[in-house]
Amino acid sequence: MSFINYASREINCKIVYYGPGLCGKTTNLQFIYNKTAEESKGKMISLATETERTLFFDFLPLALGEIRGFKTRFHLYTVPGQVFYDASRKLILKGVDGVVFVADSQEERFDANIESLENLKDNLEEQGFDIEKIPFVIQYNKRDLPNVSSIEELSALLNERKVPELEACAMSGEGVFETLKAVAKLVLNNLKKGG
């Protein structure tokens, strides 16, 4: 749920990175954080376990610039991917404006991707979102690894809605900003329609 502030001439949007455990959600945010100029970013907050698994969420506030005299801010969140953190995932989805589904391209994570996507749909529906309409993009991550499924295969299974889909290697940053841009575009276009 975006927040339009006429008093400070700002617009805030919330984007959530979703996906199975270890698919690279936190890595996406870390790359964005590292490559963004000081003046355009706030502190990145990671509520994580001692082994760096996300426990509650990562949070990264970005100020991208102005559109029509309004400062455009994006608040990026990741959810914890591990199955048993479902209660936390539901909380983080509240008020979301756009979702990035980060899929792990490795063959052995095929089922985990499907399970996580189903879980996303359930949780969005439970929050009253129309899963056919919410701004949504899919990132096929870890394309650098040898044991990956083909894009055709992944797309056929995960991308029923035919939303924008991007290949990425979050570790090197390939595709990371392209993904953010794709979802930001959908979110802003959605605002344009008054959503």
Partner: protein
């Protein structure tokens, strides 16, 4: 109340009224910092000694905190815990929910007390609740009348591309 997909909108007039109420609460409760956060973690307004504070992070963590305790409340059959209090060595945080959807955060030290903060927050919440209800009504009316088109009604793909340069 707004549905999950509608935007929260803040106008100049209401923003000024909210600031006045927050400043009054700051004075009357002898506290250090007060801020208002949307349940989704977006900062609405802040007053007091905010210069050295990372208010964006504070807002996000406060909302996470309220969301998590709200989840706990549901598990034990409560609707929500409407007040949270964290006691530190020097500073304390009092968090409460106003009008069901905004979070009021008061940071205070030994110059004030939990009792005083509680009392003043209770009073201020009523006034703040009124302003937010009016804000919701106003937003709905503007949406119906179409008088105030969204500033984003005319954005182009180029505008969006430019954000990333």
């Amino acid at each position: 109340m707004l549905g999950p997909q509608s935007s929260l909108v803040m106008y100049d007039e209401e923003y000024q009224r909210i600031l006045v109420l927050l400043e009054k609460l700051l004075r009357e409760s002898n506290s250090k910092v007060i801020f208002l956060v949307d349940k989704n973690g977006q900062l609405i307004a802040a007053t007091g000694e905010t210069a050295h504070l990372d208010t964006t992070s504070l807002a996000s963590l406060t909302a996470g905190n309220i969301a998590a305790t709200g989840g706990l409340a549901k598990l034990i059959g409560e609707k929500e815990f409407s007040i949270l209090f964290h006691e530190g060595e020097k500073d304390n945080i009092h968090i409460s929910i106003v009008g069901g959807r905004v979070i009021l955060v008061v940071i205070f030290d030994q110059r004030s007390s939990l009792g005083l903060v509680r009392l003043r927050v209770k009073k201020a919440s009523i006034d703040l609740g009124t302003v937010f209800q009016e804000l919701v009504d106003k937003t709905e009316q503007e949406a119906i009348s179409g008088n105030a088109p969204s500033p984003f009604a005319e954005i182009t793909d180029d505008d969006i591309d430019n954000l990333f340069n």
